[in-house]
């Protein structure tokens, strides 16, 4: 790690692969002039686990477990989308109750994921107390996960044809009370992010991704919505119980770090709306459909994970081992935008900008 002189007044600076600001290993090669970043090169591949190859050695059921381990914060979205893809291949129609329960699990994970990203942003600004506070609020959601599903990270809720774990009426009451508890706390946090001069000074107007660049690069999720692009799979091609539930797509047109954070914070409230509707309208009936004969076919499915669109493609050959399983994760689409966001910004903001796309390295490299 030496300060290589690359000629002129610039020098190169490594960000990663191991860096306090990055939760996962990825290597940014920054060309820096004074404190200003002139060029960004990205090298990845440190956490490649060969998951697509592993998927074509396991049967369809075991792959549910495998896909849930692609990523930690959006683990549920992966098994969710995978199960949807398999159900499409099999032509399975899942019970109505399972659709609602899937949305419930997905939205609970979304709240926890968005809060985690917001907390990390506070940590990167050096605002330790805010970080601790947000993590403390997030803990309520973690408790919900643990109480309802028995796990704090990987919920193991989805399975082919429906869901594994049914939610009792008492648990629904508990979930609603947890949301009641979280709401005022989150309103306060949203207020801090909207008004605190320290937070605004470090995030507003920085890491700009203009709308046309966002379109050109095909960014997804809160990154796209933070640049004013109305992109939400839940609305664009509704799945599970989403067509029957009311929620809004949050849009902010600031195109900066702060705008993306605001999208996330506002989306948490939309997730609360969805969770409350799920709890109140949860239909009765079975939670799982019976399995069908596996045929030779191909199918795909897409959902809106906390970071954006997750896409799964599956091809079967009549056996229970998939011939091909391929997925595209949101961070893969958002990576390229970093080059635009980081150009001509300060070294101090590099970590904040990286965090603002909520990168998931192990997803992307799998």
């Amino acid at each position: 790690m030496t300060a290589m002189n690359t000629g002129g007044s610039t020098f190169s600076m490594p960000l990663g692969p191991v860096h306090v600001a990055l939760e996962e290993p990825v290597y940014f090669h920054l060309t820096v002039e004074g404190e200003t970043i002139r060029k960004v090169d990205l090298t990845s591949g440190h956490v490649h686990r060969g998951m697509e190859a592993m998927a074509s050695q396991r049967n369809l059921t075991k792959n549910t477990t495998l896909t849930e381990r692609v990523c930690s914060l959006c683990s549920n979205s992966h098994s969710f989308t995978y199960c949807m893809a398999v159900e499409n291949v099999l032509g399975l129609d899942i019970p109505q109750r399972a659709r609602y329960l899937r949305v419930l699990a997905e939205e609970i994970k979304r709240v926890a994921s968005h809060l985690f990203n917001t907390a990390i942003q506070a940590h990167l600004i050096g605002f330790k107390s805010l970080f601790m506070h947000i993590m403390e609020v997030r803990e309520i959601m973690q408790d919900v996960k643990e109480t309802v599903y028995g796990n704090r990270m990987n919920l193991a809720q989805n399975c082919i044809g429906g869901v594994k774990c049914d939610v009792t009426p008492e648990l629904l009451v508990y979930i609603l009370s947890a949301i009641d508890k979280m709401k005022p706390m989150l309103e306060e946090i949203r207020d801090i992010y909207a008004t605190n001069s320290m937070v605004l000074g470090r995030t507003k107007g920085l890491g700009l991704l203009p709308q046309e660049d966002a379109l050109r690069l095909g960014v997804v999720g809160p990154v796209a919505r933070g640049s004013g692009l109305k992109m939400d799979v839940r609305k664009a091609s509704p799945y599970a119980a989403y067509p029957e539930l009311e929620f809004d797509v949050i849009l902010h047109s600031g195109c900066c770090i702060h705008s993306r954070t605001t999208v996330r914070l506002d989306e948490i409230f939309e997730s609360f709306r969805l969770i409350i509707q799920c709890c109140k309208r949860l239909p009765g009936g079975p939670t799982i459909a019976s399995m069908r004969q596996i045929r030779s076919a191909e199918a795909c499915a897409r959902t809106e994970a906390p970071r954006g669109e997750v896409f799964y493609y599956i091809r079967t050959n009549g056996t229970d081992i998939p011939a091909r399983l391929k997925w595209r994760v949101p961070s893969y689409m958002n990576w390229e935008a970093l080059g635009v966001m980081m150009k001509d910004c300060k070294v101090a903001d590099a970590a904040l900008i990286t965090n603002s796309i909520d990168p998931c390295v192990s997803c992307t490299e799998r």
Partner: protein, 323 residues
């Protein structure tokens, strides 16, 4: 001969050396504990800085292959020496009057930036790009916060000097006389003309101690501790010891400049009083500020120092001038 011996004793035992180190480490751990409590955590035990330093002392000293060896090794020693000497100049009102009787305020002003210079030297000698960036940030920040400090010291010296009249030629730089004057005429912290200077001093503290919101040079999440990145083992321990000394020096100086009043003629009570006053100063201007803010970017920190504290200090200076 005896003077030299006493000076050495003052540097090694009281108020420098062992006393300053114990107090510095005590403040550091208390700072961490109070911050933890403010964040609803438990925080480390009070003995933690000692344990950390002891552990670091048992570790190997690693020197990067591309580093400038001599500077890399000497920088922490340089900073430590500066602070160790400086600690002996800090008077403990009612207990100890300070090392020299003449011009010690100026000596302190020259010794105070030594840890920052050591950090800059070490950072640039480590050959790490993070160290280099930390170096440039530390230098900028130092330029910004030393100006208000100079103005604060000048306004104190001028106020006391004017009052003493012919004895001192316009400004009084002897801390001993400044304290004696305040014990007779009331603490400067309660003097309306000096309140802006006191505020400026409170704002100067987080900058010189390199804590949030002014921890830009070490910025863990940006520069991975910047200049300290390549340091480990005994050398890093030396930096933490230096920082403990500095905590004692800057809070002690604050007490001497603004609140040197004593409540008793019995020295143990005065000593406890001094410790508590320093503690109050530290908790108020370091711990509370640290737990209520994030980190400035270097340009924001620089702009802050050249505007707010400088304006406050200038305000006091002008008030003292015209009064």
């Amino acid at each position: 001969m005896t003077d030299t011996l006493f000076a050495i004793l003052h540097m090694a035992i009281f108020p420098g050396g062992i006393f300053a180190l114990t107090l510095g480490f005590f403040y550091k751990s208390l700072d961490r504990r109070v911050e933890a409590r403010l964040q609803r955590r438990v925080g480390p035990p009070l003995i933690q800085p000692w344990l950390d330093a002891a552990k670091l002392l048992t570790k190997e000293t690693m020197i990067p292959r591309t580093a400038c060896r001599s500077v890399f090794l000497l920088a922490p020693v340089f900073g430590f020496t500066g602070m160790a000497v400086c600690a002996a100049f800090i008077p403990v009102p009612g207990v100890y009057a300070g090392l020299s009787n003449m011009g010690d305020l100026l000596v302190i002003f020259y010794l105070l930036p030594m840890p920052a210079i050591a950090l800059m030297l070490g950072g640039s000698a480590s050959s790490s790009p993070f160290g280099a960036l930390g170096f440039s940030r530390e230098m900028l920040l130092m330029l910004a916060y030393e100006t208000p400090l100079l103005m604060i010291l000048l306004s104190v010296a001028m106020l006391v000097g004017k009052s003493l009249g012919a004895e001192s030629s316009g400004a009084e730089f002897s801390l001993l006389k400044i304290i004696a004057w305040q014990q007779e005429n009331g603490s400067l912290g309660f003097n309306p003309a000096m309140i802006p200077a006191l505020l400026a001093y409170l704002l100067f503290l987080p900058g010189t101690m390199g804590v949030a919101p002014f921890d830009v040079a070490e910025a863990e999440t940006e520069l991975l501790e910047g200049p300290l990145l390549e340091y480990g083992g005994p050398l890093l321990a030396l930096f933490s010891v230096t920082s403990a000394f500095k905590t004692f020096v800057v809070t002690g100086l604050g007490v001497a400049l603004f609140f040197p009043g004593t409540i008793s003629s019995w020295w143990p009570i005065n000593l406890v009083c001094f410790v508590l006053k320093c503690l109050g100063l530290m908790l108020f201007s370091l711990t509370l500020v640290k737990s209520a803010t994030g980190r400035f970017r270097i340009d924001q920190a620089f702009r802050f120092y050249v505007t707010v504290p400088t304006a406050l200090a200038l305000c006091s200076l002008i008030l003292v001038w015209v009064m």
